[in-house]
């Protein structure tokens, strides 16, 4: 009894911080969300209100597509890097994970350097005699930004998963006459399954809440974080901002929880 009380006291400061600065503010957010003229119905406004629904219809496919492409690319890169030894491999792997520490605004800026008006892609396309290609501020630019912060998030996880692949299984499949594609689809993908699911969920959840990247790039595109932010600052519509951000929060949390139970991994919310 005494020991457990000591443990309780040891964890108490963290508990107090959590209750005072997260649980109470978020509970208040729940009340504010229902304080508008529609009351509790505000929590359905993400599907009933045309503007918010349009925002949701932008955000979900964008985040899903970015998550799928990122996981696909990261799986190929992860398996390849895991199996190949070459000089400077550790440096390459380090560089691949650096973008994890960049705030979303920096990712947005890097997309501007790639695909903005003075960007690399524009310059190269001009020199090739084509029209200057500029897409940083469109949905495509946002997609590129989402790939930029998602791929590094998956590469390490998938490298770790690739380490556990058994090459003997692939050899067996090949000796039985399976084509390279069949080996990938029937042997490698199922073995990487849990890591693929977990990575995709983290990327999707991150994309749904990616405020910084969208803030730098998406002056014209309505994605949910931008919609929430402009309801709050431009229209002082606190009820809408609160209800939408709670819906977004619950949605991302559910995705992470579902992925965690599907993949049987530890916390996916890192």
């Amino acid at each position: 009894m005494r020991a457990s009380r000591l443990l309780f006291l040891t964890a108490l400061p963290a508990l107090v911080i959590f209750i005072a600065f997260w649980l109470l503010p978020v509970s208040r957010l729940v009340l504010v969300g229902a304080s508008g003229k529609e009351g509790l119905a505000a929590y359905l406004s993400v599907v009933t209100n045309d503007i918010y629904r349009a925002s949701l219809v932008n955000t979900v496919p964008l985040s899903a597509a970015a998550a799928l492409v990122s996981v696909g690319v990261a799986a190929v890169v992860g398996v390849y890097l895991q199996r190949r030894e070459f000089r400077g491999k550790r440096v390459v792997v380090s560089l691949l994970t650096f973008p994890l520490a960049f705030p979303g605004v920096v990712v947005g800026f890097l997309v501007i350097l790639l695909a903005g008006r003075q960007g690399l892609i524009g310059q190269v396309s001009e020199q090739l005699g084509m029209e200057k290609v500029v897409f940083a501020y469109s949905l495509a630019g946002l997609f590129l930004g989402y790939l930029y912060f998602s791929i590094p998030r998956c590469v390490l996880t998938l490298m770790a998963a690739a380490e556990k692949l058994d090459p003997a299984l692939e050899e067996a499949a090949r000796s039985l006459g399976a084509s390279p594609w069949r080996v990938v689809i029937d042997v490698i993908v199922p073995a990487l399954g849990p890591a693929l699911v977990a990575s995709a969920a983290i990327c999707f959840a991150t994309g749904m809440g990616a405020f910084g990247t969208a803030f730098t790039l998406a002056s014209k595109i309505n994605v949910l974080p931008i919609t929430i932010y402009s309801e709050f600052t431009n229209y002082a519509n606190f009820a809408a901002a609160a209800s939408l951000s709670l819906v977004l929060g619950v949605l991302t949390w559910l995705i992470l929880m579902a992925a965690r139970s599907l993949s049987g991994q530890g916390s996916a919310a890192a």
């Binding site: 040891t10 911080i17 600065f21 997260w22 503010p25 691949l96 994970t97 520490a101 929430i228 609160a242």
Partner: protein, 269 residues
Amino acid sequence: MRMKRPAFALIAPVLTVLTCLFLIVPIGMSILAGVTENYFVGVRSGLTLRWVGEVWGLYRETIFLSLQVALATLAVTLVVGVPLGYVLARSDSRWVRALEEALVLPVAMPGLATGLALVLAFGTFRDFRASWVFILVGHVLFTLPFMARSVAAVLSSINLPVLEEAAASLGAGFVQRFFTIVVPNAKGGVLAGALMVVTLSMGEFNITWMLHTPLTKTLPVGLADSYASMRLEIGSAYTLVFLLMIVPLLIAMQWLAARGTRTLPSKRG
């Protein structure tokens, strides 16, 4: 069939090289643009530190504030998070597992939502709202789980109960055991957690943007400001300053990880 095999074998290396270029080239461009006289003309316009100087003049307060917030966040996570990590490693009770899940919520939920909740709850407390401590609160919520888990991971890998019992049988009280047994054994986890906390705090934008005021701007908030209103060279030079601050931390973290202490990748965007 035989025709297809070489093409198939090329997919992985080509995609790997392209991915590396995609992730690394823009960073190089940003660094270069930050020290180029006129980016539109190109490198032949000359290299200069003029833009870095302008960033220093315009935004140095944000650099100091970010360092201040990061160090304060580190102090709080050390005092609160290390004991918490010990509890997570030491107890299997339902309540402790529930607490662990709860503390990850501020990381799992979009930062914008956390920031909004704090602003709506404490916006009327004028002095608190206007001080840098308001930003500190957001950063502590966001980084605490990383410190606690990093410590818990290291402590779970040793036989802590046996060590503690031995010390207790020799008459050591709880506080003495904590500082002479738990803390020294958790050193690797504390160090990894500390690097993680400082890195995350220095780069945090999504919560901070909601919490900042014109007088409390952190580095990433200043970056957003410069991207929106300054010429490309200044935004790039400012990004260069950010990279100079964050890359040593990342290298230290990877060096530590290579020595066997695992750190967790972070959630950002």
